[in-house]
Symmetry: C2
Subunit: 262 residues, 2 copies
Amino acid sequence: MATAKGNKQQPVILITNDDGIMAPGIFNLIEAVKGLGKIIVVAPDKPQSGMGHAITIGSPLRLQQVHLMKGIEAWSCSGTPVDCVKLATDKILHKKPDICLSGINHGANHSINVIYSGTMSAAIEASIENIPSIGFSLLDYSMEADFSMAKKYARIIVEKIIKRRSDKHLCLNVNFPAVDESLVSGVKVCRQAYAKFEEDFDERKDPAGKKYYWLSGAFVNFDKGKDTDVWALSNNYVSVVPVQFDLTNYVLKTKLEKIFKP
Amino acid sequence: MATAKGNKQQPVILITNDDGIMAPGIFNLIEAVKGLGKIIVVAPDKPQSGMGHAITIGSPLRLQQVHLMKGIEAWSCSGTPVDCVKLATDKILHKKPDICLSGINHGANHSINVIYSGTMSAAIEASIENIPSIGFSLLDYSMEADFSMAKKYARIIVEKIIKRRSDKHLCLNVNFPAVDESLVSGVKVCRQAYAKFEEDFDERKDPAGKKYYWLSGAFVNFDKGKDTDVWALSNNYVSVVPVQFDLTNYVLKTKLEKIFKP
């Protein structure tokens, strides 16, 4: 991959996440790719899980330079993960980084989660901006999660992508099973499984007797394919799903042209 | 289309938006489809533009029944447009509506806007839930916008979709040009144009001298195709783009399988 200026300088690696700049996952991602390029961290100042592709348009944004790790330039941002990518490019780097990495997320972003995930939306935003990107997630929500296997495989994947002059819109959704390295079956390129959440809001009453609701629900997989990310992860593979931002349903487009013919 | 119970009852039409339950656009959408089924409105209690596919997971949600229009059941919701669809189905209707309509948005949701738009994310959420859905947007941000043409075409499109037993995951992104009805070229089924925003954050200083940023930027179309929504709208067509939630990039998947082969 050429660097941002097309010369032989080390590549600029932008790192963000949606769990916030103090989450263990982002420390582990920095450690995973140390030495592969010049790292800049721009991440939300608070957890932003489930923010999807939200951008901040009704209020102003703040950036604050912070100490995160020796030798690493880091900024906390008051906005969403997508805001972080936009601000990093426009106001901190003043150019596009060579690659954008997001995560490592605490919890799965396989299948339909790609749509709700702030981690993946940051990566998708980068790919819209012609910045190759990878979002990483570990199937373990715990703050004490063991990231050692995820770190090893994240570095292998980033090295592979940096080595190649990759598709300018490349965006990968990488998920790690929550297993010890010795049990990993390998890396598997997959499609997004058709799975979704079956909502079951938790209905409660406040002290005044008025109802309120907590989003809750169960993840249900309807997809029996062995080429999906859900299958790969349940068989201890690291799953890699290439993601696109063209949402056109071309199959349905052909059908609709008949319905709406002049 | 069969009704929710599969009998000959009138279809249940869920209406939401991202401009908030008091926006003129949602009143116009209700008027547009009055008589086509039983209408239930569940919409955000405040503007939620640019919220993308955000869901509320860190705080509880409220629902409040409100008077909006005679004979129409309406609820305001403290959450995002996607939260509205989830709560409407699980806690108000206690079943899936036959169709979900979102809008009419004040401003364009063509091309890449589909990713940032709360209006379109509500429609996409419905389609994930096997509820056929249509998001409507008018290329006019004004609160005094003239919705008369949009209303007429919205009704035509909804009638067409209700008539057919449509794809259970059908999701349409419909945009109306800001022109008088006499100037409309017709309805055109399109693909999503490759266009994006070139950010240019507005940097200011607060009274304490600290910097803050307002998201700003220009919309740039890189796509010269005549089969895109941007082309259609600039030629006075009502654009209809079928939208999917499978984000897998199948072309890139084949390439990656070579890079990541065991």
